[in-house]
Assembly symmetry: C3
């Protein structure tokens, strides 16, 4: 793929300053760009790079004031960052435009597969499963019996979706994520052993969700584990059976949500957080990385931290004091001595 | 699958109250059940749902006293929860009753595969490997050379078992779990680099074990990493080389057990716990989620918490005081001033 | 494989004490060894086992003084531990000496695959991908389009390498690790939803790296996420987009490195550590397991602990005091009362 500055500018409805015929064939950060690269400047903090970059073309905000001579061709747009994101997306859409059914693959005669999908080699589509229009199933993916995959989904290599799970449109699932494994439920027996409680529910993932690599979402005991529309899950996350993650909530890597807990909409949960079972987090809750949430949060739009978690304000105050603990202990001992003396003086 | 209330009652050796001919075709929680659903009531806390549920049939305890009119047919049994678990299991047994060898799959001529197994497409059974009677190997599974899989095991799609590992009867392993990857062992060299120490041991998993999705159990340097009978491991757990997990121990998601550590029987370990290497935990030890265990625990049946962990009692006490730390610091400053004044008065 | 003591001794350039014709066919730890086993004694702490072991041959240090009668044949070498490591490596090299291309596998006509490689069944080599001389690709592996794999690499079953990623020579990647999944980048929108920021960079792994099972290394937004030569990553680790891990750094299981952070050379990072984004850790930094690093570390070769982390010294001091917190609080209350009394006396 290669484009002239003019072609890019037309696409972005921008205005050109400099040579419109210069050619670019790669996207790069302004500080790392070489000749032939298309870059962008959005954050004024990086303005100095504009005067030193080797990029051939730089997309800038319409109101940027140039204070030194610049070598690259500039394309002025309303929002340089948004415009560049559009280019990134176009780049990937062209690059990852896979279609067709590679062989060998396994599509059960009773599966319903739309006619414009991509099915990679060694992928398995079970009996009664459906794959919607425009979806891309990379190699080595497993779609269990009666699972439903919506339209325009992308499942990268190694994704495993157990039977009966339902995945909404425009959902992206990264390699080796597991959807619908059994919830962790066992009944203790008198002899100390455990009997498995069969997990007959499923997982429902709504539209526009992204699930990271090696993330696990367990099926419900009965009913459904639910990931609402627009949720973004990072890598190596655990979502236990019967949990629910609210719309547009973002969860960072290595966090675990225990069974039957309900995370509200528009929450932001840091990495390596643990959330115990059977609680709920109000809409807009934010949780500091590494925190442990052990009870329900009812007030909306609050920030929490620590393990067990408290309000972020209290958490930060306690952290500061913990650093001073040895000093506090020393002071306490001195006071004790001082009081002994005072008592003696009496 | 559909059944009449009478058929279910006969199966559970229960007694019917209401229409014996009503038909059910789905299992559901009492609060979510619709017409055609079979549900249960075990916990008296949920009794009110019995009078409002749309379930067609509800299994109840024999001694339940009905205080309002009920619509569904009731089946009285000795223990409603146990009886319902039996139905869940039957449901899954029928539903997941896969058999036969799908093509293409790879079974080495020197592998020994019992004649009633299920081998899914794109699964690989290495040279010298054995698969016992009644085992189900879903698609995209890898069984390395000379690995031994017992009878009636279920390995879901994407499980990887390295060469020489041994898996006992009735063991369930969920998708993308890895059994027998190399232990993390390296010898530091004078130039700051590391030489790999080859890991020539294996993993032994005994019977009736369940291993969660994306969980990793490393092979021993020499000898065996051992998971004893009845152990239940949740998703995304790390068991390092030469560790041993005692019979009927349960470990929740995202916990890590370091090299050569020995967890006793009947322990209950919470999620996101870290256990350092070369220690042992006594039988019946319980560990609070997110704790860090950095030394051996010798007393049996105790509960621990914190990182580094202390007894649960101390942990809880310290947590409470930490919340009051800023207040303690303020008090300390006031006392200091008071003493200054007292000294001045002297 | 079986060898006489004499053959082993010749190989290691050692000297024999005892029967040179005794045969060994297995490697084992001295305390677990049976007849036919070859073992070693390096740590003087275990010397007593030398007089009780059932091993047929034991490799010992040249200067070891024998104080009791020994049954096994001894082979004296300069460094028993190093010599034994050499044997372990030879054992695995012979054992895992796979070659050839198993069927069915998928090698795109535009892929470049060296002629002495091993490609297991159900593995996928994409368009434009290269596999270097002597590399072993186990079954069910995915190598995306234009990915480059160096010489003498081993990728165990289920490894997924996304398009455009570059893997250096002699690198080992364990089962179900994911290289090159999308970085976790989203732009918040006015309605509370998020737009995906396409991730068009790649992952570069240099030579002699080992990556553990189920570990995830995300591709860069632009540019590269970089794992320098000699790095050793344990299982279930998260390396986020645009991060860099310095040469010969070792990271234990379940640790997460957030986006754009740079870990220096020769660092040692414990398990379950979290490192926030956009910071850097100086060369030789050591981090205690379970710590949280939330700011850059500039001083080299220091040890850190806690969450948020402080110097290891401070961390250990604070931990000790935290245990005494309830006692401190009680003292504080007593002092308060004592001062009240003193004030009253005045």
């Amino acid at each position: 793929m290669q484009f002239t500055a003019k072609e890019v500018s037309t696409l972005l409805q921008g205005t050109i300053e400099g040579d419109p015929d210069v050619v670019v064939f790669k996207l790069a950060k302004i500080e790392e760009a070489e000749q032939g690269c298309l870059s962008f400047l959005a954050n004024p903090k990086y303005e100095s790079f504009l005067y030193t970059t080797n990029a051939s073309v730089v997309i800038v905000n319409g109101d940027l004031e140039i204070t030194e001579p610049v070598k690259p061709t500039l394309i002025r747009v309303e929002n340089a960052y948004s415009s560049f994101s559009v280019l990134l997306e176009m780049y990937n859409t062209i690059k990852l435009n896979k279609t067709g059914i590679e062989q060998p693959s396994f599509i059960h005669p009773d599966a319903k597969v739309a006619d414009d999908v991509y099915i990679g080699a060694f992928s398995y589509i079970g009996a009664g499963a459906t794959i919607g229009k425009g979806s891309k199933i990379y190699p080595n993916v497993y779609i269990g019996d009666n699972a439903q995959v919506g339209t325009s989904c992308t499942f990268f290599s190694g994704v495993k979706v157990y039977h009966d799970c339902i995945i909404g449109d425009n959902t992206i699932i990264h390699s080796n994520a597991v959807i619908g494994s059994d919830g962790f439920g066992f009944a203790p027996q008198a002899d100390g052993s455990y009997n498995k409680i069969s997990q007959i529910g499923n997982v429902i993932i709504e539209q526009n969700v992204e699930v990271g690599a090696n993330t696990c979402i367990d099926r419900a005991t009965m009913g459904s584990t639910i990931i609402r529309k627009g949720v973004k899950l990072d890598n190596l996350i655990q979502i236990a059976h019967n949990a629910e993650v609210g719309a547009n909530t973002v969860i960072a890597s290595q966090t675990g949500v225990s069974g039957s807990s309900k995370i509200g909409e528009n929450c932001i949960i840091g990495g390596q957080v643990g959330i115990v079972g059977h609680i709920s987090l109000a809409k807009g809750t934010q949780v500091q990385a590494k925190s442990g949430i052990n009870k329900s949060i009812e007030e909306e739009d609050k920030k929490w931290g620590g393990a067990p978690a408290t309000t972020y304000h209290n958490y930060m105050r306690a952290q500061v004091v913990i650093q001073r603990l040895p000093e506090m202990e020393r002071k306490l001992d001195e006071l004790q001595k001082a009081i002994q003396q005072l008592k003696g003086l009496d």
